[in-house]
Each structure stands twice: as structure tokens, then as C-alpha cells.
Amino acid sequence: MIGLPELQQRFVAGLLGDQPDALDAWVVSDRLSAAERLGIYRNNIYVGLVGALRDCFPVVCQLVGEDCFQQAARGYIRAHPSRCGYLQRFGAEFPAWLADLESMRALAYLADVARLEWARQEVYHATDAVPFDQAALADVAPADYGRLCFRIAPAVRWVQSRWPVHRVWELHQRPDQGDWTVALDAGGQQVLVVRQGLRLHQQALELPALQLLELLAEGVPLGDAVDQLLTADAVFDLQACLQDFIAMGVCTGRPTLA
């Protein structure tokens, strides 16, 4: 008689498809054959997991079509099976998987759209945080502004792409209307995703704004960040950018002085 650990190992391998027909020996065949009975489980498993990926990556699915998505998703499920008993982390490596797929090469921007959709997933489930403390900022003397360090809220992600991925994503939110023109050669986009209360806010950022965000997230004081941005030959309204970040909920809690 086969022991329980070995039975389970063989079933997982067989149901995910490594050894499709190796399980019949342990399953009763009667009105339905063992293969047919196992097929029901194989189908349920893939329908469930492909569905979980489709829920996370709806725009990717629209871009490649259902058949192509199914094929990519099934390959991913075999190569990167879910590693825990809940699904919030399942799909984390899907953007990289798509980037490596030969069959998806024609859609160069696909993996970046997937990265954006995964960023949205992470923002949706990220830890709640206290609002930014405006009053604390008012207590800081203007001479000390350069020493300010901001904390970035957990529900904030950004994606930098060589492609206009925010535009592509936006178009697919209302696929039945609007202007469907995307100039893929019009340059890349930096996209910010931030949770505001119960909803997600997403917008494109100018490159210097993204660079400022990255520096602040690393804990670089505002003055040093500005110096680095200026040497990078960036011309933009720093104060407006910072105020936007604060208004959008990008910053959390009390700023500190370096």
C-alpha cells in the first residue's frame, strides 16, 4: 500500500501535469474511469488558478486574448506553483515569466503592463497607514526643510517603463469606447499607484517626480534629494511635486529631521 506522503507527492506532480497518467493505479474506476475522475480535479485546479491570475492581470488577458492567456498561465502554474495556502502572493513572478516567453516577444510592453497590474495588487493588500502629519510639517522652520525625511506609505508602488503603460492600461478600462490610439514610440511612462481610502489611484509621473520619490523612499533628506535631481539636469516644480505626493497620500506619519 502506498504511504500518504508518497501518494500526495505523486498526486501533486500528476495533477499539475508532470506525469499525467501515473495516478490511475490508486484510484477506483467504475462508472467513470480513474483517468476521467482525475481529469475533473486537473480541470478544477487549472480553472481555479488561471482564474486567480486573470483576476490579477485583466489587462494582460485583454492584450493577448483568452486562449493565449490560458496557455501562458498554465505554463506559469507548472513552473511557479503556488507556495502557500492563500492566493494573495500567487502571480508575483508572472510579469517576469511573460518577459521570458518567446511567444510573447511581439508584445514588448506586455511584461511592463503585468508589472503595473501586480503593483496594483500589492497596493490593494498593503498595510494600512496613518495619514501624513501636516501639523508636524508646519512646526519645521524653513531653514530646516533641507533636513526633512519623509516616510512613504506602504500602499505605494511605482513602475518605470520604456513604454506608455499607463496609457495602455487606461485604454483597457473602458475597451468599448474612446480613442484607441497609443503611440508606442512616444516614450516611456513612469506610473504611480497609491491607495486612497478604499480605492486605488493611478497616474503617470514626470521622470524627475519619480526620481524624487525614489530618493525619498530611500530615506534621503529633501535637500540632498534636490541636489541630486538638479545635477541630473531636471527642471521641475519641486514644491508642487511634493505637495502632490502629500495630497495623494504617498507620504505617511510625521516627517523627521536628518
Binding site: 500500500m1 507527492q9 501533486v12 488558478l49 502557500c84 492566493l87
Partner: protein, 294 residues
Amino acid sequence: MVAEGHLRTSGWRPAGLVPGIPVAAGIGLRHAHFDELTERLPSVAWLEVHGENFFAAGGPPLDYLRGVREHYPLSVHCVGLSLGSTDPLDTRHVQALAGVIEQFEPGLVSDHLCWSSAGGRHLHDLLPLPYTEEALAHVVARIEAVQEQLGCTILVENVSSYLRYKHSTIPEWEFIGAVAERSGCGILLDVNNIYVSARNHGFDPLDYVQGVPAAAVGEIHLAGHAVNRIGTREVYIDDHGDRVAESVWSLYGQTLEQLGPRPVLVEWDTRLPALDTLLAEAVRAQSYLNDRAA
């Protein structure tokens, strides 16, 4: 007399702190109904959610559930503990569940008598165990470990199944009864699952209902199923995608006769209907309880 469904606590949670689940009909609450339920606060005795959907660190689902919890008794039903798996118990999963229990104070906590992972790979499907002495000893030890870590007892649900193992030696109803007796867990008796399995394997569903220890049953589930065909042969699929079938209502009535009244819950997960349709199913489930009380 049957007391309210409640967690039997084992020491470090003060008894009486946990609000009980009434012996009445509730509904499974899914994300698509959160907005409407929060706005309307319809009359329904209690709600059940999938525990794993609230394992995230933050975000809208937790926020909604905090709001809902103020108005309804809550049961937390899990799908991912993989109680029958021979992998090491995922104590982080149990810890995350403990966090949900601490935050939302459910009246009942449950998962399934099944396995869904091996070698660290999770299938997110509920596979039946072989019903052997080996599997019995294993799953009893796992349930004891989970209950120990949670500090409360859980209910364990019978799953729908599409296959049986050649080396099973114990009828499923005796197996789940022995699991409850040895581990101290309760049984969540899913009447639709009994019916689906009975049709797929050719046993009498009443044998199952009469075979489980009535005192251990702490909750009943109802749901819809689909009847598919492979060639000319019917396969019953537990898809939670329709109204409860008439044959299952009938089995539910017989189950109440056999066990007495219990908290009963209607689940609906695929092709989700309007909230009112689901609520109407709960009203019908409640009418069976009322008939027995009359």
C-alpha cells in the same frame, strides 16, 4: 436542546468573550456583495467569510469586514490549512488565521477534511484523503496542532469528491466521526457535498447523515451544484454556482430530523447572483428550522 454554535475555548481565551452563531440561517459573504450588504444591512442571522481572503496586511477587504462585523455574528471558514497534507504544518498560515480570529472574534472557525498541498506546492483545490488508519492518525494530529496553536476548537467539513482511493478501508462518515472524536474538533456537515459525493460514487446519502455523530455537528452548509456529462454519464460538480437543488433541500430536511436544528449557511461562489437571491435561499433554509420548532 442544542446550544448556540460556539468555539470551545481551551484556556487562554476567556470563555464568553466570543459571540455565538445563532441556530438560524446565514449566508456566505463574498466580495461582490460587500458594498450592497454594507449599505442595506439586510436581515440575515449571520455571515460566513473565507478566512484566507482577509490574510492581507491591510486594504479594503479588512475595512469592509470591520464594518460588517459590527452588525452580524461572523463565522470564519478556511480553505487553505491543508489539514490532511503530510507537509509540515504551515504555522504562518495558522498564525495569520489567529490574527483574523483575534480581530474579528468569529463565533465559529472551520476548514475542510482534505489535503491540497505536497512538497510545498499548493493546488488550491480540496482533495479527499484516502480513508485509512494512517490518514486518520495523521489528520487527527494535524487538527490537534492547529487547535493548540489557535487556542480553540475548529469545525471540519466533509468535501465533495470525484474520486475514491482503492486502498481506503473506512466509510467516509465513520472516518469523519473518528476525526471529531479523537481530535475534539466539531463537524461542519455540508449536505450538498454529501449529495454530490453520493451521486458520484453511488452510496446512499442518508447512510452518511445517519453515520456521523450528531453531537459533533456544529454547523450545516448548503449550496448549489452542477450536473455535467462525460459522454452519456452524469458527473455532479460542487460549483456553488446555482440555487440549492430540490434533492438537496430534501436531504437537508432529513438531516435536521436526524440531528436536530443547527446553524445553517447557504454558500454561493461562482456566477454570483443578486444579494436578494442569496438571501431568499437563506429564508428557505430558515423555514426548515422554523418548521421543526413549530
